[in-house]
Amino acid sequence: MQLKVNGETREVAAPDDMPLLWALRDVLGLTGTKFGCGIAQCGVCTVHVDGKPLRACVTPLKAVMGKSITTIEGLSRDNSHPVQRAWAEVDVVQCGYCQSGQIMAAAALLEVKPDPSDADIDAALSGNLCRCGTYQRIREAVHRAAELAS
């Protein structure tokens, strides 16, 4: 089976009901996308499929064939995406495990809401858990990313 990941077409030897998460991590070696719950409750596996945020842990491969998949590794080569720049500036991360998903969810939000309100951020990111509690800095960084992108 072929998957289009981060602009490249990759051959994936996996059954088509395997969740995208495990094809990315265990088959393609793209470990930036994380495993947290397996049931779309925590958001650490968030990737973009045709530009929209999607939970890779519950998405079978057959649902994304022919679609364009972007993971954290493909967001930028050098942390230059406005969301990553804002994350660095605001010093958001702590343990970091949830941050790939947070960043992908934030980047997807800014695509549809270039200048989001706090309520927009709450609505878009409340599905992305962080046990270290970086939420306040996430809010601040999303606003900052909106400024950097404009």
Partner: protein, 742 residues
Amino acid sequence: MSTREVGRPTGPTDTFLPRSGNPPLAVDAGRRGLLKIGALGAAGLVIGFAVPLDAFAQPAQVKATLPQPNAFLRIAPNGEITVLLAHSEMGQGVWTALPMLIAEELEADWSKIKVEHAPAGAPYAHTAFGIQMTGGSTTTASEFERYRQVGAMARVMLQEAAAAKFGVPVAQVRAQNGFMIAGDQRAGYGELAEAAAKLTPPATVALKHPKDWKLIGHATRRLDSPEKISGRAQFGMDVQFDGLKTAVVARSPVFGGKLKRFDGAAALRIEGVRAVVEVPSGVAVVADNFWFAKRGRDALEIEWDLGPNAALDTEALTSSYQRLAAGNGTPAATVGDASKAMADAKSVIEAEYVVPFLAHAPMEPLNCTVKIGEGTCEIWTGTQFQTVDQGAAAKILGLEPDKVEIHTMFLGGGFGRRANPVSDFVSEAVHIAKAAKLPVKTVWTREDDIRGGYYRPMFLHRAKIGIGEDGMPLAWQQHIVGESIMAGTPFEPMMVKDGIDATSVEGIADSPYLKSVAHHRIALTSPQNGVPVLWWRSVGHSHTAFVMETLIDELARAADRDPVEYRMELLKGHPRHLGVLWLAADKAQWGETLPAGRARGIAVHESFGSFVAQVAEVSIEDGKVRVHRVVCAIDCGMVVNPAGVRAQMESGVVFGLGAALHSEVTFANGRVQQSNFHDYEVLRLHEMPVVEVHIVPSTENPGGAGEPGTPPIAPAVANALYALTGRRLRRLPIALAAGEVA
């Protein structure tokens, strides 16, 4: 209010300002033991200490480990400086704070600093606990001297090397931002490193006066940020190499249950499944990747002998704790005669509190990769307990501990779960790799994690307080019932004295409030009910602060006194409590009127050498508790990285608030009733209050920051809800009454 401006240090109390007046600190570099200079050839200068192995918490298996050459610091010929961490980075910021200590004394160029986790080895033993570990909010306090000494020693040796190279007296050489300079001569640390490594290390080093600190005390961005925002950071979960298989384990659905029989034939027919092996904890399915392993586990046919805990039930357990609480218990703190003095009370408050079992639920599910070789073993995992895990693996494999190499990966959260005295997830992974005869990464699902035990114990408190004519407590009786986290572990001899597990009563038996209560008796009963329990961020303080600070609030209200002013009277003689109490109240505009439907509550608590007060501003919206704002004041002594302290206060509030509002593990028919984040709920972003952090300037020794932010939030919120509803909340998680949710 915009969330963009708040929470940033603004006023003078927010900024850590070292005060002058302390003499320069001179320390004997050899005091802790023999200085080791290792030869690393072209790698340049290597400095480390050998720590005496007679420290008090030394498990037997560690004593066999001889001191070995090791390093805290490497300076490469290209000037790159690598700091090795004796502690694990799990979000708390040691990846940045410990290098700051070395770089401060070394006068290093901060942009040249690289960081690595140290391997498992005796040189990296905790300076107080004697084993390599991260916990108890102790990293900064325990390394404040050692890491600065390392930096100072390296600087002296580089200075001497530069003096020889320049042909000038050492006194003429000064260190500045990664260079040694004398007159118009200068040399980078990289070019001096090899010569410096050949010199005799100094017997003593003088540490800088705090007024000269350029890094310590200044907000510094995290060094692990770039790799964590690019997805490149390597957590235990991310370990991959050729030939590595993944295992998922079927464990007993009831704690203490044993495998009766199993049939792995159907699992072995699943694509990618390579082995099905029996291990002490259950049955492991080993496959080419996680998905195949999980499918294999789903196909297992297993019969369990459920054992003695098959009827475990939270309601029944609560009733049994109530019966135990009616007894006398074992005294943990006794002054005067509380029972007799109670007769003199003008009025009496009686209260019963119940707090639940709690899972740590770090975002990265537990995992451990094990590769067994000929007489060797390599382990890759996120652990807080290297020495214990190393010893456990060695025992299983019949090896000396030093044959077990541990690669500490980034921890996707720890909160105590990754420091297990019985090494549960590491031991299991070693058993699986041994039985499967393959290199294996054992991965826990979230369901395995929530149902896997090692919880913060459930506790029940029964309190009876007699109030005098003056409105102050004159007699105080309290009985605490809950499992001991130390019983049956190697830490029991140290932590359990005269039947009292100190971690069950900390924050109450030693409460500053009780110092002014002439008659008090604090008692403990530690039942055993088969549920594996463990320290959970802030340990005993996670429940004792809730009980104490809501009781004090209740006493203040009963006396018709302001809760802040009442606390100040009781806490006379405790200046650091008073300092944070006043600061939090002041910054929160305590006493000023709030809009209708909003109320404030306050709590103050000392834990892990630090003092924290929090004011929570709450309302009830759509039938739910809404916390709008938390003002947090902390006095943690000298601060290394104020940005890190601020983050850890926000973090502690989120962790404690999620538990107070949502989290509980309950049992029915012996089974844990929760399984994943939909029913083991934690705080989500839309519930995040604005958190403002104020740091008290201090010249006291560093205290902790990882845990002290957690204990005050539950009582601060409960006290605010009392102000709003007039009802005392004595159970966690907080449940509003029917009349309050409108």
